[in-house]
Amino acid sequence: MMASSYNAKEEDGPHSGSSTNGGTGAAKNKKPDNTAFKQQRLPAWQPILTAGTVLPAFFVIGLIFIPIGIGLYVTSNNIKEFEIDYTGLELGSPCHDCSKNFTWNSTTPCVCALNFTLEQPFESNVYMYYGLSNFYQNHRRYVKSRDDRQLNGDPTSLMKPSKECEPYRTSAETKEPIAPCGAIANSLFNDTLELYYIEPNGTTTAIHLAKKGIAWWTDKHVKFRNPVDDKENLTELFKGTAKPVNWRKPVYELDPSDPENNGFINEDFIVWMRTAALPTFRKLYRIIHKKPSTTSTLPSGRYILKVTYNYPVHSFSGRKRMILSTISWMGGKNPFLGIAYITVGSICFFLGVVLLIIHHKYDTRSNSADIPN
């Protein structure tokens, strides 16, 4: 490696020069600093994952998770849920005629009614959902197709929607910009569901369905805003825009009775605009508030669901359903979380026991072990 003829003086020269800090004359001190960081001598904690150290953690996890899992599972079992499919594909179903005869241009709405029975009364607030199957709200082109600036009330975006909204950007006939633009808005769910209770004595009472409070507060008050201008009337504000292709009414007629729920800030619209994660999903439709007296919100008995069938799903083999559900602190009926917690808790506990045996068996042996030479 080194040349055979080397000068002993040369070899020692730089060496002695570097050993004195600062060096003498020509020799530069190339030694790295003798700090803890550069010499890798930083104080450190050196934990080791042995059976003995990990053991308490496993037992603790097991002991915490199992009660949580049991609590979740029991809570989920106490949640009542009722689901009814009203697509109407089968010949005998009430909505069969509506699903077959549907056209976009029909002016008379098609109404069908389904009877169902609730075995158990539903207490506290009851939430009414509509569910769709095989509807890919998470398709990339679909998710892109919206203009958040327009929905936020930006006046320039109202008249010039984003290019992402193509082909639902401008109206084909009038060349006006569409408000709200995009495929998500265009496919707004527009079935109307009404619920009636058949009293024991035979009279039918309508159940009041509240349409406020179904969207995220931040969505309704910050993200979605109607365009602001001097004009008070929403009709005036949206002048110069066209309604989406598949809508029956323009956006400023979504809820004429309530100006807080009209235009872009309509809660059904906001709920629909939050694209679902999976092809089978449900969205909140209405809330049935609990009665001030002690009677159940939905007593057990017979009910009628009246559907104004506006939304066609047969072209993509989709299905529609209505769900009634109570909720708890942990959400809707979902036994999976409870089962998962119980499973993981039991596995951890079992592993803790196994590790205890191993720790007892092997660690006493390793105490006398020496490092091999």
Binding site: P14, T50, F65, R140, L278, G332, L337, D363
Partner: protein, 382 residues
């Protein structure tokens, strides 16, 4: 170094002036370098498998339309800000075994011989772990989101207890579990926790949370989409979301922990055995400590030398000597219940230094004799 020596040094990767430096360079620095680089490579593949595989799985549920699961900000910053610093600092400061142990036990080098940490079995293990974790993330979130409604208590501004979660919340939940899992995996692999490690690991997690809160907290004017607005906060205000995040992190980390613990218990490698063994004191250090104790006795601060403190300081010693202190009686802690052991008396009568290691460490005050006598704690095998 000589002319040709200098030329050789310029052409080489490493050059050392003396042969004695070779030992540390090979056994310590070489060993550390290999461990660090092996972990770096394996970890990089692992964290990216965990990152991409859930997106791959999502394609089966979004019509194969290449819809990303996570927001573009998350996609961009995952490898840059959220998971880069911890592994970087790991590869700079990690010491799986101490420097002294490595120098003392050259045979530990055999554990990394023949590129053992970068072979196919090890790589397959890491990849399978990544795939397992990704499957857990995705399907864990899937079954929690499937046909269910998550409550978010929305206590921030409203009394609503029923909110709907969309696809961005789904993706953000998976991403949160992902970032925490891969960072905690590195934390479990780290053997040498300096302040730097603490800073980057907990700092990265904190940065992720703060970034998410800021990113979703404001309607950013430069963005032409607002899909992430308030998504992170809504997710965090939901009890089931918290529960599922914790559950999924623990399930993901469980197999690796079990494998490590079981392998260490059942068939420990030489390196693992070296990690658990405490270092022996060298002869010089031992004599130094003895001197210290002797001085303390003579100076009269015998009261400090209570049995408990002795057990601590003598934990690692192999001392065979006891120290006799002749002098005025001091205030000593006396176990009134313990009688003077016969053995002790016998030793005292013999006088001089004798081995009393078999006796428990009691400080005794011999009445009349003016002795202060103590015995060291039991020997701890090193």
């Amino acid at each position: 170094m000589g002319k040709e020596g200098r030329q050789a040094a310029r052409n080489s990767d490493y050059a050392i002036p003396k042969f004695k430096h070779l030992k540390k360079m090979l056994l310590v620095h070489g060993h550390y370098y290999y461990i660090r680089i092996a972990e770096l490579v394996q970890y990089f593949f692992y964290k990216n498998v965990c990152f991409i595989f859930p997106q791959f799985l999502y394609q089966f549920f979004c019509g194969f339309s290449q819809q990303p699961l996570y927001d573009t900000a998350y996609l961009t910053l995952y490898n840059i800000s959220f998971t880069s610093l911890p592994i970087l600092l790991y590869s700079l400061v990690e010491q799986h075994v101490t420097i002294d142990t490595l120098k003392r036990e050259p045979s530990l080098y055999r554990d990394i011989a023949k590129n053992s940490l970068l072979r196919w079995p090890v790589f397959l293990y890491w990849t399978c772990l990544g795939v397992f974790d990704a499957v857990i993330f995705f399907f864990g979130a899937y079954f929690l989101f499937d046909n269910t409604t998550f409550t978010s208590n929305g206590q921030l501004m409203t009394t609503n207890t029923q909110m709907m979660f969309g696809n961005w919340t789904f993706g953000t939940l998976i991403f949160t579990v992902l970032v925490f899992t891969v960072t905690l995996k590195l934390a479990l692999d780290t053997r040498h926790w300096t302040w730097i490690n603490h800073f980057v690991i907990w700092g990265s997690l904190l940065f992720y949370v703060i970034f998410s809160l800021l990113w979703g907290g404001i309607i950013w004017p430069f963005l032409n989409y607002q899909r992430m607005y308030y998504v992170f906060m809504q997710m965090l205000s939901s009890g089931p979301a918290w529960l599922s995040i914790i559950l999924l992190i623990i399930i993901s980390l469980l197999p690796d922990v079990i494998k490590k613990v079981l392998c260490r218990a059942v068939c420990p490698t030489a390196t693992e055995r070296a990690q658990t063994t405490r270092p022996c004191l060298t002869r010089d250090e031992r004599e130094e400590q003895e001197e210290e104790v002797h001085e303390k006795l003579l100076s009269g601060s015998v009261a400090e030398l209570t049995p408990l403190s002795f057990r601590r300081s003598y934990k690692r010693r192999n001392t065979n000597s006891t120290l006799l202190h002749l002098g005025a009686a001091e205030t000593l802690s006396l176990h009134s219940s313990s009688p003077l052991p016969q053995k002790l008396l016998a030793h005292l009568s013999e006088g001089g230094r004798s081995d009393l290691s078999s006796l428990s460490p009691y400080m005794l005050r011999l009445s009349g004799a003016g002795f202060a006598y103590y015995a060291p704690g039991p020997e701890t095998p090193v």
